[in-house]
Symmetry: C3
Amino acid sequence: MATTRSKKPDNKFQPRPRRFFSQVSWNLDDWVVKMMHEDHDECDVQICRLMKPDDANIAGNVHGGIILNMIEEAGIIASTRHCNNPSHKDKAFEPSASALVRVETTDFLQPMYIGELAELRGMVTYTAPHSVEVKVIVTAENLLKGTKRLTNYATLWYVPMSAEVDSKVLSVPPLNYKSKEEEEEGRLRYEAQKAQRRKIGLGGRPSLLIKDDYNKNGSPDQLSVSFSSSSLIHLIGPSDCNSFGYATGGVTMKLMDEVAGCVAARHCRTNVVTASMDATNFHKRVKLGSLCHLTGRATFASSRSLEIEVMVDTEYLMDGSKVKERAVHAFFTYVSLGPDGKTRPIPQLQVQSEGENIRFQQGKLRYEQRKLKRAAANKKKTSTS
Amino acid sequence: MATTRSKKPDNKFQPRPRRFFSQVSWNLDDWVVKMMHEDHDECDVQICRLMKPDDANIAGNVHGGIILNMIEEAGIIASTRHCNNPSHKDKAFEPSASALVRVETTDFLQPMYIGELAELRGMVTYTAPHSVEVKVIVTAENLLKGTKRLTNYATLWYVPMSAEVDSKVLSVPPLNYKSKEEEEEGRLRYEAQKAQRRKIGLGGRPSLLIKDDYNKNGSPDQLSVSFSSSSLIHLIGPSDCNSFGYATGGVTMKLMDEVAGCVAARHCRTNVVTASMDATNFHKRVKLGSLCHLTGRATFASSRSLEIEVMVDTEYLMDGSKVKERAVHAFFTYVSLGPDGKTRPIPQLQVQSEGENIRFQQGKLRYEQRKLKRAAANKKKTSTS
Amino acid sequence: MATTRSKKPDNKFQPRPRRFFSQVSWNLDDWVVKMMHEDHDECDVQICRLMKPDDANIAGNVHGGIILNMIEEAGIIASTRHCNNPSHKDKAFEPSASALVRVETTDFLQPMYIGELAELRGMVTYTAPHSVEVKVIVTAENLLKGTKRLTNYATLWYVPMSAEVDSKVLSVPPLNYKSKEEEEEGRLRYEAQKAQRRKIGLGGRPSLLIKDDYNKNGSPDQLSVSFSSSSLIHLIGPSDCNSFGYATGGVTMKLMDEVAGCVAARHCRTNVVTASMDATNFHKRVKLGSLCHLTGRATFASSRSLEIEVMVDTEYLMDGSKVKERAVHAFFTYVSLGPDGKTRPIPQLQVQSEGENIRFQQGKLRYEQRKLKRAAANKKKTSTS
């Protein structure tokens, strides 16, 4: 069978080019647009994976936790490669495994479906003496139709941990920036996240009971906080871990999204999907053989979204300490979808105790801050464009 | 959007409370009813997992082996935590990994489906100097409808193995019982299972050929024992193991149910589901890198159920010994379901040799003992209630 | 319920015997026919696995990579068992893990579907001082209908690597052949593959850029090589590895088929399935913690098949060397299926550079050699039968 070698095929049959992205209503950050259109040779890492039935709910929507897990896999690869790069070597080389310490707010712009090809591109965008910033974008490609949509973008922070000495933090080789401005912008992002991490607190802390004020008398009301609150336990096994016996941050985020999804489904009784994860700090690495206790509870409901607080407490069984430590604490936002794929109203959340009321008001503040932040980002774009 | 804070919502829209369990026709043991209605804070362990397409057969029924695997995961967590609990410490602490040695008869009361949330609760209910009894109940929650059904309950026995010295059995810290009666009842259960384990034999034994008397002349008849008999081999990999390089009992039970399911499907050619697993002893731990040889054959068929004998022989490839040892031996009962989800008649089993006939008569005895036992349990309940 | 013990059941209800294989149009090698009809007790290894939704594409066809992975699992078990067999011991026993070094051309004769039982049988068929040849056949059994089809057969070559000393190749215990002819035929196959491996080159080699001549100006044309070319990165985790921390060849082949499938789907935009993998050498074992870079590009399209070249480059992150080495290089052939399951025409491949044209001509030669080889095999059968 002959093939043509013409560089200009007949335009009649010219389909949409593969790099076409369907439009999104969000105003995207500059770096996202740049990475979307950049050749993938210029990215530090590119991962592709076909979405399978087990990755999705019964409506065919890929779970947010699966996407967060892939994002973190891209992040860990980019950071580990950068830190183990000998061209940056200024002293004796010491191999490191990168540990996730923070994920900035991550929005789920569009759903991803079974059968689509998820493509993730990651790049190291800033380095501090002991931290690495990685930016990742996620696109979903429909292989049959040839369309490609942007579904997520995320910023992650890693710290290189010695592969030889436990809990030893290593130095990060410096990054070559394209311009002074690029370095300065990165430094501002680094200072901002550092302040956030300090505010919330660092290091493994004793876990706090979250069930202090639950209504324990009789069956809880269907729309109450205690009705939908959920918990699960997971024993960290070998396939959850990196090659040095620590659970990856992606596995933890996948579990967090699972427990948040249970809360949302119990409250809404519909097809619920992850809309965003607020900026989240990872205080503690989780060792192979540890028990992860995950707890989720609804904190705030607007007419179209439900905020869910998720806590991860870990307990290492092999040292006999029986101490539970808070490893992660995060806020997820879920939306409810109808059979037509459009968002549906969220049932009102019934607040039944003083604690629940305080958390509801705090949730409302976070909800309004998110709205303001989005509006500000849109305004900035409009003024600069 | 405003939320109400009323403690009593309008009863018109009050759905069935989440703790509602649909009725089961079985007469349940007291401890099952107690654990079903207990707050989950009072359980030693609670696991939740959403059932995925890969967990089920093509008719959407979750495989019995998946449920047995989750049951054992709950058991291993409860036992490991209890044994590594320093508050019980009376001497130098030595960490242990719990190894499954026995599962009491486990009935599959109701099917579980894709998309349901499996919730497992486990509690340590008795401790002997070197054994731990864990009881587990399994419920299936339909997140969209808000209904919850009891699907399984099980009793498992564990032995704490040293995490540092291979094959060293450690002491179990004593349990605090609520009453003398509770302790005494546990002691009776402990003695009963010990007698059963002694009767059947302990320790890894050389595997016995099970194909001694098969009709090897020509193609086997469609309903004969040799026609449906099945075998499979599985190489124990890192993701099958606990953090000390031994396969979990749950992985072994999952494989056992797989081979039993093949036998049942080959005999019935319908949607077959696990109805029960008889009390089963685990003679030998299976090391990472071992080959598991699983063999299943039909032993007895009543009009509505098929009994399948499953044998697990293991062979460790790295010591050059080429010795196969019998690790587990169990009886599964399967039922056949029609498209309406109702049980269908089982085709008669054609017994073609003396050995098959002996096993058929023994199977018939076990079948009648199971019926008597169930009737006795029902009578006991009726008289005590 | 009574069972009959008659050895001859009523023929009226006699279904097709289980060992029946539906006819294939291929002329099968003698060893395939022999292994198909042999009792499985005479095989070195037999693996069964039920095909699940995650193993297949959206049309229900099991991915070729899943089948290649199972084939390699059967091969690794047969080879490891043979090499660690003490009955062959002539000196101090040293345990070994078998590493895949070559797979001969593997055709996908018929599709396999979700819900079918894949059965693999493997046998060691020749041994050289440091190499083991394993032959594997794959059948798909429809458990509900009782039919069984041959879907694949494959020949794999392994080398025993010391489980104690890294990179040390051990001696293979000799095989007992049934006849001088059998041994001589095996020796010829061994010499032939050795010549092939020498021709292509042995050992990890520096990876070569494959994107040298791509059209980078603007969006690529829909049917061009650069449009459908795909790449993915995979970090080798614990569950990808054998018990000594090296990725199995099967995991690598599964990833290779994944990237080839992306290329084929992007070019054809239909349900594409693997038709064959050409003979492939595995130059380098891939360590736990390595990055696998997989790249695929279309090289040749006939009217009914698409040839895709796949390259695997590995990069071990923990030694700071930042050297990528070519681990595998293979050619896959894909066909495109319509909704009726029949093959559809392949769109013409647009060749846009000198390099693409050279590869296209080389692909055409390979395509014609494959046709000649198949014709020769058919002729040989006809003349000997």
